[in-house]
């Protein structure tokens, strides 16, 4: 129990190394059981998590490079807890979804295990250098997954993905080093611990530069407009499992980084850049939704819709109030589940027809009714219908952001319209109408493997839509802690005004 986080991080990677010894035929059961165990460990973490406690839990600490204060410092709060569970859960779903006759099955599965380590790592480390390490390491397995198992333009897509995100993160690294230097100047000791950094109050002009450096790294990962163009290529070329994990988890690293790094470290710069970022997010929401509407490839459509939803998440984060940030974290989870499911669903017809072009289909509702039903549920969740998982986060994010600006709030809420337009028109073109193409008339409905991946997601979509409280409550507590830290740290009047003063812990109970 003392080292549960360490186990959680390194168990998949060690099991992955052992995997080379496993017989080729039994590799899939092996990897599925590893990811299942990993999921149970992360659920056990939830069980042991005390949501009433403020601050990090399950903390482990060890010095790595003492002279420069680089530590092995890990711990979780309510925010990272659910992103960890999302990672382990979606990895399991992704692994189950891989068909047995994939080429080089063993290598693919072991790469995913390695990827799982980096994803869990990013969400639990509290040391900037370690964060950067896992952040960059996560690119490598993804590069392989796209580059080796992808479509025709896979090399272009994977290199673009790698170089683009890498460029951003390098700039972020420079920011981190400078931040450590500032900390050294202020306190006389070196430290990369985020918890130490949180205590550092910086003047606005320093904050601005550091914020920009971090912003570039994080925004490319999210990806925010206009840094988003790597994503459609990556999704378009990646195999289904790659898209699922990329959309469900890897993108969340960027938004998680905003909450973990940018906001609490640079509250004044956050407020300073609030309007430009809000405008970028609005463009992201409306513009990419329109681009999604124009897509002819179903997978690209889902990819662009992902960007549009990430825009709502960013807006929720920069609402800077508990409603917005809690909502955006919930939206991260719901978007992970829904977009993951949508990519799986696209994979289903791609497996059968080897095309993702919407015009090739039509009338699938009569051929594959169960598939159409699940797709319909996911489409509605994506549109943000109440009582599905998509509504809760979207509503909270938007309600939070609306406090900041009336006009921008209205534009942002336009997501409910533009989202419905592309989703419904795609659904109509794919599932409604008569079966025109004779190749579609004999398609088989979902098989057992597909049910195993889609049913749990469907259940989650509805259950968490009706009862989101188990997630919202711990998240909300941690978010309040971050906001109260931001309010205390803020140096400018404007930031003090915009970031609410929230009482947490003992104070709140009085």
């Amino acid at each position: 129990m003392n080292h549960i986080l360490t186990i959680l991080i390194f168990f998949p990677a060690l099991a992955g190394l052992m995997g080379f010894l496993v017989d080729k035929k039994s590799i899939k059961p092996y990897v599925v059981s590893i990811t299942l165990i990993e999921l149970f460990i992360s659920l056990y973490l939830w069980y042991g998590f005390n949501s009433a406690e403020i601050g990090m839990q399950f903390v482990e600490q060890a010095n790595l490079i003492e002279a420069f204060g680089v530590q092995y410092l890990i711990g979780i709060d309510g925010i990272s807890l659910f992103l960890v569970i999302l990672s382990t859960f979606m990895t399991l779903i992704g692994v189950v979804s891989i068909s047995d006759d994939t080429e080089d099955l063993r290598e693919l599965l072991l790469t995913i295990l390695f990827l799982e380590m980096t994803m869990v790592g990013v969400f639990v480390v509290l040391d900037a250098i370690l964060f950067y390490l896992f952040w960059e390491l996560s690119l490598v397995p993804m590069l392989y997954i796209i580059g080796a198992w992808g479509g025709n333009k896979r090399v272009y897509a994977s290199i673009k993905f790698f170089l683009y995100t890498f460029t951003g993160s390098i700039i972020m690294l420079v920011g981190m080093l400078y931040m450590a230097y500032l900390y050294y100047q202020a306190s006389g000791t070196w430290s990369f611990s985020l918890l130490e950094w949180y205590r550092l109050q910086l003047p606005l002009d320093y904050q601005i530069w550091l914020f920009v450096a971090f912003f570039l790294g994080l925004a490319i990962k999210v990806p925010m407009f206009p840094f988003h163009t790597w994503l459609p290529y990556a999704h378009g070329q990646a195999p289904t499992v790659g898209s699922v994990i990329l959309a469900a988890v890897l993108l969340k690293m960027g938004t998680y980084g905003f909450i973990r790094l940018s906001l609490p470290l640079y509250p004044d710069a956050t407020v300073y850049f609030l309007t430009p970022i809000a405008i970028l997010s609005l463009i992201m929401i409306i513009y990419t939704a329109m681009v999604a509407y124009a897509q002819k490839d179903l997978k690209q459509l889902v990819a662009y819709s992902s960007i549009s939803h990430m825009g709502v998440i960013i807006l929720g984060i920069f609402a800077l109030n508990p409603e917005g940030i809690t909502g955006s974290i919930f939206l991260m989870i719901s978007h992970g589940i829904v977009s993951g499911a949508l990519f799986l669903l696209v994979g289903v017809i791609y497996d059968r027809r080897h095309t993702k072009m919407i015009d090739e289909f039509g009338g699938l509702a009569s051929v594959m009714p169960r598939y159409a039903l699940i797709f319909g549920i996911m489409a509605m969740a994506s549109v943000g219908l109440p009582l599905t998982i998509g509504f809760v986060g979207e509503f909270l994010s938007l309600v939070g952001f609306y406090k900041y600006s009336h006009i921008m709030g209205i534009i942002a809420t336009g997501t409910v319209v533009v989202g419905a337009i592309y989703m419904l028109s795609a659904y109509k073109r794919t599932f409604f109408g008569k079966v025109v193409n004779s190749e579609n008339s004999k398609l088989s409905d979902l098989n057992l493997r597909e049910y195993l991946t889609l049913i749990p997601l469907t259940i989650l979509v509805i259950v968490l839509g009706i009862y989101p409280k188990p997630i919202l409550k711990p998240v909300d507590e941690s978010v309040k802690a971050i906001i109260s830290l931001m309010h205390q740290k803020a140096v400018t009047e404007e930031a003090k005004k915009i970031i609410p003063n929230i009482k947490i812990g003992e104070e709140a109970r009085k």
Binding site: P226, V291, P322, R370, V399, V416, F431, V475
Partner: protein, 649 residues
Amino acid sequence: MNFDINLNINISNFIDTSTLLYIALFSPIVGSLIAGIYGASPKRIGIGIIVSSLIFLSFLASAGLFLHLYFGGSIVNVRMMDWISAGDLSVPFGFVADQVSVTMMLVVTLVSTIVHIYSIGYMEKDKGFNRFFSYLSAFVFSMMFLVMSDNFLGLFIGWEGVGLCSWLLIGFWYERESATWAANEAFIMNRIADLGMLIGIFLIYWHFGTLQYDEVFAKVNSIPVDIISMIAIFLFIGAMGKSAQFPLHTWLADAMEGPTPVSALIHAATMVTAGVYLVIRANEIFALVPEVGYFIASLGAFVALFAATMALVNRDIKRVIAYSTLSQLGYMFVAGGLGAYWIALFHLVTHAFFKALLFLGAGNVMHAMEDELNIMKMGGLRKVMLGTALLMLIASVALSGIYPFAGFFSKDKILEVAFDTHNYILWGTLWLTAGLTAFYSFRIVMLVFFGSARYKDFGIHPHEAHGFMLWAMTPLAVLAIVAGLFEHQFIDFVTKILPVYNFSEGIHEIIGQLVMVTTAIAVTGITIAVLSNMFKEGLFTNTFKSNFIYKLLDNQYYIPKIYDEVFSKPYRELSELFWKSVDLKIVDATVDGIANCILSTGENTRGMQSGNLSIMLRLMVIGITVLLISAILYSYADSILTLLQGVLN
């Protein structure tokens, strides 16, 4: 009609009222799930029966709650569980059965029960029989959720839920292009309105700090009036979408692509009245801002006339009734906007009865005519389907507002309110509309049931609907006749929570004249319709059809075309442009451009690395020289600068 009931029933002695409430709310969704399990399997008649009985159970529970409240019981308010809570926002699943919601519940469940039973016959040959019942019951659940919720966000759940079910049911025959197109149109147009609704909810949350009705209404006087009017406007935008008010009205006529029972239930009796319900429910907000109310009333009057004119010339039986629904919704908004909330609710109730009846009758006609909708191809059908003819006649008379039918009481009250508040233009508009309403209602009746049997030319052999379908419609017919007589009981009941509308003293003297005038124009409308059809079927001659006004009305004022040209097409083209030109050619090209720039820098400077030692040596010498010079310049920078300044000065 005044029967004082001394018998005092206390429902809560027999059964817990919150249990009743849960039964009323959840039995439809149970039915929906049962039918949904068999959704893809072949028709089972049992599904229809089970689902209908569950809806009937819901009706009985609603009736129990009604009796409980009617005999002085207290308002039932239950909080089932927490839903969303984050920050200071806390929204539970809370339900309330007060006088307004219980009235709605009764109407919804009653019409639903009838429509469900009717559908067993109507959908008997459809391969999606089970699926249909699943959707229809899901709709009832959403609608019950909408009216029973005790907070704005719960209302929004129902609001979106009915939108979803409407989408599913309009597009029920999904193989038809027109049906799926109409379904998407309805959903998207409603979503545009929902945007307004959401903004209204946001405003309420940030200014009241809560979304519970009772808490919001308690604080309503402490909030600045400009905020209240913004809230009222945005909530009304939401209502405009659901209730298909101009300019978001086009979806309703297109929604007639759905099966007819759906049109009866959703697009006449219940869902479209949700907007009116919202105005009634939030009356404490709307009452504070009479300017907004006046706008609502004006828009309502405009829509009443506007829709009635389109109904005059349409040849599609269902579309005519749809436009009539639009027009009647306009009436309700006039009442709501002018502050006569109970009258709006009253008209909502009576309208639900006779309009559902009218649609179900139209369904019978459609079945008889093998899904033919053009009234020009019908005629003389009373000979083969007397029952339906009778029922539709009752509904049409009620719609026209002839004493003592239900429509008379509620519609006349609205006219009186308009007159009483000195809004003579509104009154005049509504008065004219009343005449048009009577005309188009009887135009349908005449063209369908009277005159020569034109259908014979098209080889159609009509037949009457199943007996049980007609019997199922009978309660609606009875209510369409007698519902108006319960006016006083209705007032007493709903004004326990709704404000009483007090007519001014002067109005009582001329009220008789007003009734006369209104009835006169209705009778005139009927007479014109009857006479013209007796002499000349179809009334409209070919010369008339080339008339500009006829064309304008026939094309629905060209509004669908305008929308297509102004919104749909540009949106699609702009999307294409954004993708192909902006995203690929600007944003992505910039990224690739930067990458290519770096690449070509490398390519061009590669020549330097020739491996030739003498070139490298030369480069080294140049490099050292540059470094030396810059070092010197840097170390003497200050003196050089002063020197330069001296030179410049």
